[in-house]
Amino acid sequence: AQRVTQPEKLLSVFKGAPVELKCNYSYSGSPELFWYVQYSRQRLQLLLRHISRESIKGFTADLNKGETSFHLKKPFAQEEDSAMYYCALKGGRGAQKLVFGQGTRLTINP
């Protein structure tokens, strides 16, 4: 079964500090991992996906198959990063649904 766990419901850091949002997954095959973000009063949107190996808004995430993790990191947090972040898993090519974690609400304090 596919499962995504985000252990922190709330995370608060100061502006300029590093931030890491944790995500662990459970899947027997080769998963596709994503991070979605929902800013206040906006719709849920894709932030980044592991296959692209990209950095979006300063955020990066590395898939660690050994630890079954896909933690989201940013070296210097900005106030505009305050949002709800969801880690999501799709069970590889051809899989039909995206399974989400419970989300982490990130607050960046000035």
């Binding site: 719709r43 949107q45 051809g94 649904k97 989400f100 419970q102 989300g103």
Partner: protein
């Protein structure tokens, strides 16, 4: 160039009544998803449509929930005999399809349902 459109944006209904939530996906998107976002519960998969294939209904929480997609475009999620625990934001999303791993899923703004 409109994104995924959902209506109503807010709905307050009395317990026991039926409700219908509508989703208009991005033009040309063959895949359509419904999710439920409850406070403290994250995003819960409900149902998935892909083209003319039989929908994946594995996430529907009870037989009071049903969804259809007419003509491969607009979808309606129906909740019969609503209960207070049905109160949530119902999100619709669409994508070009899932056969290609690069397809991005785009979400609507959601329909906020409150059952009183």
């Amino acid at each position: 160039g409109a994104g995924v459109s959902q209506s109503p944006s807010n709905k307050v209904t009395e317990k026991g009544k039926d409700v219908e939530l509508r989703c208009d996906p991005i033009s040309g998107h063959t895949a359509l998803y419904w999710y439920r976002q409850s406070l403290g519960q994250g995003l819960e998969f409900l149902i998935y449509f892909q083209g003319n294939s039989a929908p994946d209904k594995s996430g529907l929480p009870s037989d009071r929930f049903s969804a259809e997609r007419t003509g491969g475009s607009v979808s309606t999620l129906t909740i019969q005999r609503t209960q207070q625990e049905d109160s949530a934001v119902y999100l619709c999303a669409s994508s070009l399809g899932t056969a290609h791993s690069g397809n991005t899923i785009y979400f609507g703004e959601g329909s906020w349902l409150t059952v009183v």
